[in-house]
Amino acid sequence: MKGLPPVLITAIVLVVGFGLCAMQFPNIASTRVVGNLLTDNAFVGIVATGMTFVIISGGIDLSVGSVIGFTTVFVALAIERWGVPPLVAFVAILVLSAAFGAAMGAVIHVFDLPPFIVTLAGMFLARGASFLLSTESVPITAPVYSTVSDFALRMPGGGRLSAIAIIMLVILIGGILLLRLTRFGANVYALGGGRATASLMGVAVGKMTIKIYMLSSLLAGTAGIVFSFYTSAGYSLSAVGVELDSIAAVVIGGTLLTGGQGSVIGTFLGVLIQGMIQTYINFDGTLSSWWTKIATGILLFAFIALQQGLVALARRPVATRAGAAS
């Protein structure tokens, strides 16, 4: 029910792609490379998890990249200039971003506005606010940052599973459980199936909308903290376009852009596919890194076409039945 066939196709694409890469560069098939891949894409994975909920519910969140940018600047300034303890700064920015998401959700519901427009406004707001705080890159030198950066679990084969990769995996598993096993998760699918119908069936549509965008922004804030660990700096221009990368990961992962179907695990596979292409280009060394975007674009087209085909197939039996009644 929850989009398994598309997810299987994504998994096959990943495995076959990884196999091809490993045939050309045998070194790719090592825990070292895989560990780095997880670390490099940790923040995208976290944001894309939240985006999965939003898209399954029939919405979209364009503000996440800006929220990441704002978070890095806010955290850097709080720790380095305002002398706030890092943990307090983290809690503050998480509360702030959750409130930001809740506000967007409330606007979407109360004024019955398209999520695209509301989160587009949110995107400009958050990006503008981060420039207001600082236009230049602020390096973070707090000891907790070097501690976290140094921490890693050793994997067999010499790979390192870094702290931020672990955070990403924990959030991912949490996202899978939340979507699959809880009433909240069922309601997310219900909203994607039809807001009016879901409302008639007793789902508190307004509350759900607010919670979903709150979750997305909260995860974007988390991704911002992770990004600040990754770069050890806060910069208002960081993570530009990440909202589009995460939407791409969600769609490649088999989630229907129109809502109602999809899975977090598929999104994770989508993130890995994008990371794999990036890794391949790094190994090749001669290709421009923009080939990542081209490959992502081709995959997006392929998956959207595939989804349309599946949707058409799913609709057909119903149509035949209605016509045969006599």
Binding site: N187, A190, G193, L200, V203, A325, S326
Partner: protein
């Protein structure tokens, strides 16, 4: 039928409900009484107020006046959800469930069995299976609801409503998209629920089904209560009289004597023309200079016949001929190419383009017929518009006025002008006089006669039987999506039409 019910206290009591939309009084002082354990049919033609009544009772629309009592207690739900919580559930023709969720999730959405904040999927499926077994369904409840037929989706919706402890179940046209076998299953479930003491309101256009399943009948007409009767003691003719509002005594036809004119040339003919589940195959001949009326209740297949004739719907069998030559009518384009015109019932949505001027609306079909490569010059457009504004007396006589600002009758004339400008051989008019004031009404009828005298073939649908009798040379009567009788000459009067609509038996055979 179970009529052995004693005088039980009413389960649902609706008293003196009124509701207006702007100046339109949709309901006026309507009463409705539903007893526990009965199946109560709510009947009426288009605009009678059935849907409005249901929506007012279930809180979708606020009411202007009146009370609703459920089991003796006054209730005033403000939303469908609140009505559901109070115990009044509605299942609409378009199933209001989520096709992307599993059957089990649909049944238990927002009330799933939980443990430690986690949905107990296994327990939920077991309960869903147990619940559906009561309704005679043995299906995989983990599969998406959208994978199943409309009938199963209906039963699921009913099961959900009943499981939510509904005491009143309103079924709005539940059988419209079901086949005979599925209808039987649904009726079995309805009887079973009635035995459990649930009161069921059954809204349907299918009179055979109403007589098969219901204990009592309430009829509405033009927003007013016409009456409430025991089904067993209400003859079919009487029921139709209640629905259409005709006193049989007063129906001596006011028909203009058409006189005995020689048989005229056949303009278009249809043999065994039909579409499964839409209209049963029919034979129809349309002659030049002749008006054929289509009469029948709402949902009897009148509009469907018109759409097939015009080509707006594809037939799945039969042969159409125009002036004797076989033709294929697969799209409205084909219809236009054969010289057909069609004025649909929903002027506002299917007919006029309100923002465009009278002139632009009039030349629309002619331009479409000519194609994009041969645009009409502005002078030709002005000339055509002026001619028809004058001929049909469209008021105000200003071709540059947006059509949306005209009255209903004048909009209808503009629509007529659009097709007349294409010099059609056959014109199909669906409810040409609906929503038009009395003066314009007479004028449209006069126009229909005049057009006919000019040699045009006309196929006219109307719910106004007096009107049909006035201008038709022949009347085809439809019932339950089949043509059941054709009246001609002296035989055309309201009594005969009513009798044909009311006759039993034939419809069932046609549907089988």
């Amino acid at each position: 039928m179970e009529n052995s019910l004693g005088p039980a206290p009413p389960l649902l009591e609706v008293r003196g409900i009124s509701k207006s939309f702007g100046a339109v009084r949709a309901l006026q002082e309507v009463d409705f009484t539903l007893r526990a354990g009965e199946i109560h049919a709510l009947l009426g033609e288009n605009g009678a107020g059935k849907s409005t009544l249901i929506k007012v009772v279930t809180g979708v629309f606020p009411r202007d006046a009146g009370v609703v009592r459920l089991g003796g207690d006054e209730v005033a739900p403000r939303s469908a959800k609140a009505a559901l919580e109070a115990g009044i559930a509605t299942v609409y023709q378009e199933v209001n469930l989520l096709p992307n969720l599993s059957v089990a999730q649909n049944l238990f959405l927002d009330r799933q069995p939980m443990r430690f904040g986690i949905v107990r999927e296994g327990e939920m499926r077991r309960r869903a299976e147990a619940l559906l077994t009561e309704f005679g369904l043995d299906i995989d409840v983990a599969a998406p609801l959208g994978n199943y037929s409309v009938a199963i989706q209906h039963v699921t919706a009913i099961a959900r409503a009943v499981d939510l402890s509904a005491r009143v179940l309103i079924l709005d046209e539940p059988t419209a998209s079901l086949d005979r076998h599925e209808v039987e299953i649904l009726f079995g479930i309805m009887r079973q629920l009635a035995r459990r003491g649930i009161g069921i309101v059954f809204v349907s256009h299918f009179l055979d089904q109403v007589y098969e399943i219901s204990d009592r009948i309430t009829v509405l007409r033009n927003g007013r209560l016409v009456g409430e009767r025991e089904t067993a003691s209400l003859p079919r003719l009487e029921l139709i009289r209640m629905m259409l509002g005709r006193e049989l005594a007063e129906t001596t036809s006011a028909r203009a004597a058409a006189g005995d004119r020689p048989p005229r040339e056949v303009c278009a003919s249809f043999e065994n023309y039909g579409k499964a589940g839409y209209v049963a195959p029919f034979n129809l001949e349309l002659r030049h200079g002749e008006v054929v009326g289509l009469a029948g209740l709402l949902g009897s297949g009148r509009t469907e016949t018109a759409r097939l004739v015009f080509g707006a719907e594809r037939p799945d069998g039969g042969q159409a001929r125009v002036e004797g030559a076989p033709v294929r009518l697969q799209s409205p384009r084909d219809g236009v190419r054969q010289g057909f015109g069609y004025c649909p019932e929903e002027r506002k949505t299917d007919g006029i383009v309100a923002e465009l001027t009278v002139r632009e609306n009039i030349v629309l079909a002619l331009q479409a017929k000519r194609g994009l490569h041969r645009p009409l010059s502005r002078r030709e457009q002005d000339e055509i518009a002026r001619r028809y504004v004058k001929m049909l007396d469209i008021r105000p006589p200003d071709p540059e006025r947006p059509v949306g600002l005209l009255s209903g009758g004048n909009q209808q004339k503009a629509l007529l002008a659009r097709w007349l400008a294409t010099a059609p051989r056959l014109l199909v008019l669906d409810e040409p006089t609906r929503g038009i004031d009395v003066g314009a009404h007479a004028e449209i009828i006069r126009l229909i006669r005049e057009l006919c005298d000019d040699g045009l073939a006309l196929l006219v649908i109307s719910s106004e039987l007096d009107e049909i009798v006035t201008y038709s040379d022949r009347v085809v009567v439809l019932r339950d999506r089949a043509h059941v009788e054709e009246l001609a000459g002296e035989a055309i009067d309201v009594t005969n039409i009513l009798a044909a609509i009311a006759a039993e038996g034939a419809a069932k055979e046609a549907r089988a």
